[in-house]
Amino acid sequence: MVQSPPETSPRTDSRRTARSRTGPIVDCDMHNYMSWTSSGLSRGGVLADYLPDRWRDYYTTFGMRTPNSIAFFPTRPRNMAARDDTWPEDGPPGSDLGLMREQHLDLWGISAGILNPIDQILMGSQFPYYSAALTSALNNWTLEQWLEPEPRLYASICVPYEDAELAAAEIHRLADHPRFVQVLMNARTREPLGSRKYWKIYEAAAEHDIPLSIHVGGAGGNPITGAGFPSYYIEDHSGYPQVYQAHVISLVCEGVFEEFPTLRWVMQEGGFAWIPWLCWRLDRAWHLLGTEVPHLKELPSTYVKRHFWYTTQPIEEPERPGQFAELLGQLEELQVVDRLLFSTDYPHWDFDAPDRALPREMPKETRHKVLAGNAAALYGLEIDDVL
């Protein structure tokens, strides 16, 4: 049962106001961040305290390999891609639980929020044993510093996803903890996610019946597009939907859902306006080329309908009035509307506000489901006054 925030909060009034407009809110994508010094740019920092001796020594001597996705775009928006007002006195955005409570959980009256630790974006770039030690340390830190002090918070299990066996071990360690609600990989993997290389991760997730998710970020060593490296952050950032498309194509076509029929995937921060045409294209291709993939027993869109969920931020912004409703209608056909999960991406610059982001063209009942009900159903959260 998720507890309500203490009623003595100084922000109670604004919380009441915001909640009265929106109803209950589950934020399916928010970020905690260790500290400056965990970025690989300097030594020491909080992470060292959570590492065993062998890896603490390694960490303080060599730091972490920096993913090219970050190094290549020194011109990305100011403030480390964060909102202006999310900087604590000391440390980077997302590093201060007090500020997160005040300006996010309390302000909006958020019933439950799922943390995706930012530091996870570095983990795919480290070698396997080191990555395993770092992700375990990261998970322990999240548990001690965030989940235990704040009952409204839940978290994703960070895993060293480029080594499936080590990742599975971390899933086995934490998946049954009630506050770890999904497994987190990054979008920028070394191979498309349908690859057998990752199947031991899926086996472990299926065993614990815990959803898997991918989030923007990471560095698998490949250019972010199928056409090579772009030059600007805006191309990188707007290229993520295409990365998600590649993963959906791969997961479906390589037969992951025939092998693991109960898997649930949450596609975080990748948009959702591309789902209709991708389903149409996949189905047409299957009729045309299905003999190549006889392991697929059903239409590709059937797997998409059954196995994928999507977070809403950055919310799709069609050009003209009526077009969001057209998109919703197509998603309804594909049974995807019940799989949209509201998210803010706090503390990032492209934050979606709970009372403003969802377009008016989304009917009220759908809005309530997207804001809380769909997530409560997916993650098994019991939220008071959820619709």
Partner: protein, 363 residues
């Protein structure tokens, strides 16, 4: 050109494929040096061609080219041109020159394939127009080939593959983009090709069907690059066509690019208008294949969302098979729109004189 269809006006078929020429067919168009080089090396053609369109895959439609070159050209005339004097078909012959490291060999093959193709067009039907090969990985050499052939009235487009090592907006391509612009030829970005890097942003897929479906996201990356890296600002008369890459993804791409631009255009200040404005102004897409249910309202909704009658162009994509019917789509469009998609848009894009008024529909 099935009589089941009602669109009565003439067609410009903007995506038609000739059979890949054999090295023997190219012989007359190569120097003695390269003929000897090819014979000695045992070179039979680029593997990029068969990896783009696998020989037995239903999508490749290779059986339509069986029966030799003359029969294939008769099929092109029958399927893509019909009887109308105003009809045109833009042919290409992808030869995979983008995969070739040696710049002189890549260039020599581009030239040979182009000269062979122009000869084949001239000998077959005056209504055939050509999309010429260039080595995009060597943009200066590509520009030379464009300049060499642009004076030929049959040459209406520069053919480049969707798969690249860097997307086409990158400034390394400026010589290629400048040559296309100054010669008034659109850059035709076509399904497939081969490059050192994988065809997805996350590594190599296992199956061909993944690459086939995924080409839609490669095309989106190319358009994002051209817009954001400023190609349309630097080359204001540059036009781009997306061929055999699908098009029902266009609204979702425009929405996302416009949203990103609102948020962080300070990084790319030369992008002075919303990305969708550049896309509508500079880009056209061939309508085959059609990714939408054939009879449902989705395809009409998508066309409305594209927000312009000027961007779609008819194509049969002969001999490829996609299980979608572009003529049936023309029948669903309002007459004025149908006429633009069938003819007008491609006529403007390729500099074909406007057709006479469409004949009355047989409906």
């Amino acid at each position: 050109m099935s009589s089941d269809h009602h669109h009565g006006g003439p067609l410009i078929d903007c995506d038609v494929h000739l059979p890949t020429p054999t090295v023997d067919q190219l012989g007359p168009y190569l120097s003695e040096h390269w003929r000897e080089y090819i014979a000695t090396a045992g070179f039979k053609g680029s593997m990029a061609v068969t990896s783009t369109h696998p020989p037995g895959a239903r999508s490749s439609g290779h059986e339509r080219l069986d029966g030799g070159f003359a029969e294939a050209m008769r099929n092109v005339r029958r399927h893509c041109l019909g009887e109308s004097e105003s009809a045109r078909a833009v042919v290409s012959a992808h030869y995979g020159v983008e995969t070739m490291g040696p710049p002189d060999f890549s260039t020599a093959l581009s030239r040979a394939v182009n000269d062979w193709m122009l000869t084949a067009c001239r000998d077959t039907d005056e209504r055939l127009l050509a999309s010429i090969n260039v080595p995009p990985q060597y943009p200066d050499l590509a520009a030379e080939e464009i300049d060499r052939l642009a004076g030929d009235d049959r040459v209406v487009q520069v053919f480049v593959p969707a798969r690249t090592s860097k997307p086409y907006g990158n400034r390394i391509y400026y010589p290629l983009l400048a040559a296309a612009e100054r010669n008034g030829l659109p850059l035709g970005i076509h399904f497939g090709g081969m490059s050192w890097n994988p065809p997805t942003g996350v590594g190599w897929p296992s199956y061909y069907i993944e690459e086939y479906v995924g080409m839609a996201h490669v095309m989106q990356a190319q358009l994002s690059s051209l817009v954001f890296e400023g190609a349309f600002q630097r080359f204001p008369r540059l036009r781009v066509t997306v061929l055999e890459g699908g098009w029902t993804w266009l609204p979702s791409l425009m929405w996302r690019l416009d949203k990103e631009w609102k948020g962080i255009r300070r990084e790319v200040p030369w992008v002075e208008e919303p990305p969708s404005t550049y896309l509508r102004r500079h880009v056209k897409l061939s309508i085959q294949p059609i990714d939408a249910p054939p009879d449902g309202p989705e395809v009409m909704t998508t066309i409305d969302q594209i927000g312009s009658d000027d961007v779609l162009m008819y194509a049969s994509d002969f001999p490829h098979e996609h299980l979608s019917d572009p003529l049936a789509l023309l029948d669903r469009l309002a007459p004025e729109t149908a006429s633009k998609v069938a003819y007008g848009n491609a006529a403007a894009c390729y500099g074909v004189p406007s057709a006479p008024e469409p004949q009355e529909s047989v409906r």
